[in-house]
């Protein structure tokens, strides 16, 4: 790979130099292509588009017209989405925030499930398969299954369990609770249909986190737990002081995955989409670029950048953490 460096330069450590010398011209070309082509595809379709989204967020452009018609508008798109002219951003952000906390809670349940299954319970394999099953289903399919048999106002199972008149879990936009924010006109809150969506997401998220923790728990040295038990530590203490600290690498992975999944939630919301109450950043971005009110590329890109900025910190943290561990 380092073929651009002169092979004879004396500053290189010996081992490396000899390896470079052994690489023939065709080997070097092979390595260049081996890295070059996949990197080119990745950069062209992930990082350059991300950069273009950043540029477009400062422009005004109707995507049905040629790109030459785009004009720079400075921060106007951002100003617009953050002020009263656009009432969608803060409810969507609030829903994402709720999702972060809720999925975080689900991750804790997933860890608990893993901890229980790690005790060599009879039929542990079966439990594991059952809890994990929703994860192999498409998120869209999960959405439709819940819509059809769980949430349906007449035939839905939840309405059979809950007494009284049937509740429209999908369409009911009445808020469960509301928070009044001083400088916002309308209060922020969680609507009933969004809460219903959370249940369906929990069903999928818990099993996923559980499998990650199961792998981590397998790596915990059993003699540590035995030592703790001999020292008289009870279950809770042994978990808190012995098992949990050794799970740190998995905790980081799960924390980042949970936050990023919460921030970029899209499929299930889109699958169960009703016009109001369940909007998250993901659907807001797509909604303003396609469908009704489409063509507002500048605004959609500004929404996209908000989502990007929220995610990038966690992504960087995750990557640094990962590669520091690897070294």
């Amino acid at each position: 790979m380092s073929s651009s460096e002169p092979a004879a330069s004396s500053g290189l450590p010996r081992g490396r130099r000899s390896r470079l010398q052994q690489l023939t011209f065709s080997d070097r070309v092979w390595l260049k292509f081996a890295i070059g082509i996949p990197v080119a595809v990745h950069v062209t379709f992930v990082w350059i588009p991300a950069l273009l989204t950043a540029v477009l967020s400062f422009m005004k452009w109707d995507n049905l017209r040629p790109p030459s018609s785009a004009e720079s508008v400075g921060f106007r798109n951002y100003w617009q989405i953050f002020t009263i002219f656009d009432p969608k951003l803060f409810p969507a952000l609030f829903n994402n925030l709720v999702l972060i906390f809720f999925l975080g809670f689900c991750s804790a349940i997933g860890m608990l499930f893993a901890y229980m299954l790690d005790k060599n319970i009879r039929g542990g394999r079966i439990y594991q398969s059952v809890f994990y099953m929703p994860v192999v289903l498409s998120v869209a399919v999960v959405g439709f299954i819940w819509k059809a048999v769980m949430f349906h106002p007449q035939q839905g199972l939840l309405n059979l369990v809950i007494p009284g008149k049937g509740i429209d879990f999908i369409g009911d936009q009445t808020p469960i609770f509301q928070v009044h924010i001083p400088f916002l006109d309308s209060p922020l809150g969680v609507t009933k249909n969004f809460a219903a969506l959370l249940i369906a997401m929990a069903w999928r998220h818990i099993g996923y986190v559980m499998v990650l923790y199961l792998a981590g728990l397998k790596a915990v040295d059993p003699t540590l737990k035995e030592a703790a038990a001999i020292d008289g530590a009870n279950e809770v203490k042994s978990f808190r002081h012995v098992v949990f600290p050794t799970l740190r690498p998995i905790n980081v992975v799960v924390a980042v995955i949970t936050v990023i999944e919460a921030l970029r939630a899209y499929d299930i919301v889109a699958a169960l989409n009703e016009p109001r109450g369940t909007e998250v950043m993901g659907t807001l971005v797509v909604g303003s670029l396609t469908g009704e009110g489409g063509g507002r590329v500048g605004l959609g890109s500004a929404y996209g950048m908000v989502l990007f900025i929220l995610c990038i910190g966690f992504i960087i943290y995750y990557v640094i953490n990962n590669f520091r561990q690897a070294d």
Binding site: M1, Q22, V41, H42, S138, F144, C311
Partner: protein
């Protein structure tokens, strides 16, 4: 046995009790977990109007029927959408695993100035929210000419062709697989390729002859994971393939929902059919599946 029971006489009893509680709790949770799936499958065998709609999903059926399946298959043109999925999935899967293994090989076995940088870039890119990049990706595909001969559309551009979906999948998923494979390759002893190098084997031969065969377990695990992720993709299929008939199977269910919003048992039947391949793969290859997740312990 008899000597130890005196000392730890109480302990087994207590653990047996707590084990019983644990077992009961887990069984209850497992039953709760299965309820949505079981109800969906059950509902899919019943008529919606005149049966489950009036009496609820857990009532006794008036009649069990396969009509929902027949109808969903026909109306949803599910055969066609399954083929669409396969045409996208198979090339994507092969390309992703191939690209990821050569990058991982080149970056872990040979020193280069940017090697770590490429791996970081791939890992970070894999976690990028797809919504952030989709508009520019869409615009790029709209402008890249593509011969009609090689596609199923006649617009003359990449947008709307299966190739465009394959490209996006490869761009996104190569990152995760490269990350996993590079971790895996680091565990293979350096002497393997060094010996080959001394024998005068080319890099190409080292890769195909030594490293790639040794990576079979990791490739099997990744293949299983990627199969389900690509199969389950809902987003790219829907936004890049604008014509409904070109959609992959998971995106096509949304159309069924729009057209026949009334008949939920039809949707339950379609969901069941769509779920079968991934559930079968999961149960057959469970070992690989879990192995893949734990190798990388992250999913973008």
């Amino acid at each position: 046995m008899s000597s130890t029971t005196v000392v730890t006489g109480r302990k087994p009893g207590v653990t047996r009790l707590s084990r019983g509680v644990l077992q009961t709790f887990l069984t209850l949770m497992a039953v709760a977990w299965l309820i949505p799936i079981v109800s969906a499958v059950y509902a899919s065998f019943r008529y919606f109007e005149g049966d489950s709609l009036e009496n609820g999903v857990f009532s006794r059926p008036k009649k069990l029927t396969l009509d929902n399946y027949r109808e969903a298959w026909r109306v949803g043109s599910m055969g066609r959408h399954f083929l669409n999925t396969m045409f996208i999935l198979v090339p994507s899967l092969i390309l992703i695993l191939f690209f990821a293994s050569i990058v991982a090989f080149a970056c872990t076995r040979f020193s280069g100035r940017f090697n770590v940088f490429w791996l970081v870039l791939f890992t970070a890119g894999n976690l990028m929210p797809q919504q952030v990049v989709f508009q520019p990706v869409f615009q790029i595909f709209k402008r890249v000419p593509w011969p009609n001969l090689l596609s199923d559309t006649d617009t003359g551009y990449l947008l709307g062709t299966k190739v465009s979906v394959i490209i996006v999948h490869v761009a996104f998923q190569t990152g995760f697989c490269t990350f996993v494979l590079s971790n895996y390759m680091k565990t293979l002893p350096k002497e393997l390729t060094e010996a080959a190098l001394v024998d005068g084997a080319s890099v190409n031969r080292q890769f195909f002859g030594i490293i790639l065969p040794l990576c079979r377990p990791a490739l099997a695990a990744l293949g299983t994971l990627e199969f389900t992720w690509l199969y389950n993709d809902f987003f790219w299929g829907a936004v890049l393939l604008q014509q409904g008939r070109e959609h992959p199977i998971t995106s096509s269910i949304a159309q069924l929902n729009g057209q026949y919003a009334v008949d939920y048992n039809l949707i339950a039947a379609a969901s069941t059919v769509i779920a079968i391949p991934t559930v079968v793969v999961y149960f057959l290859l469970q070992k690989h599946f879990v192995g893949g997740l734990t190798l990388g312990a992250s999913k973008g």
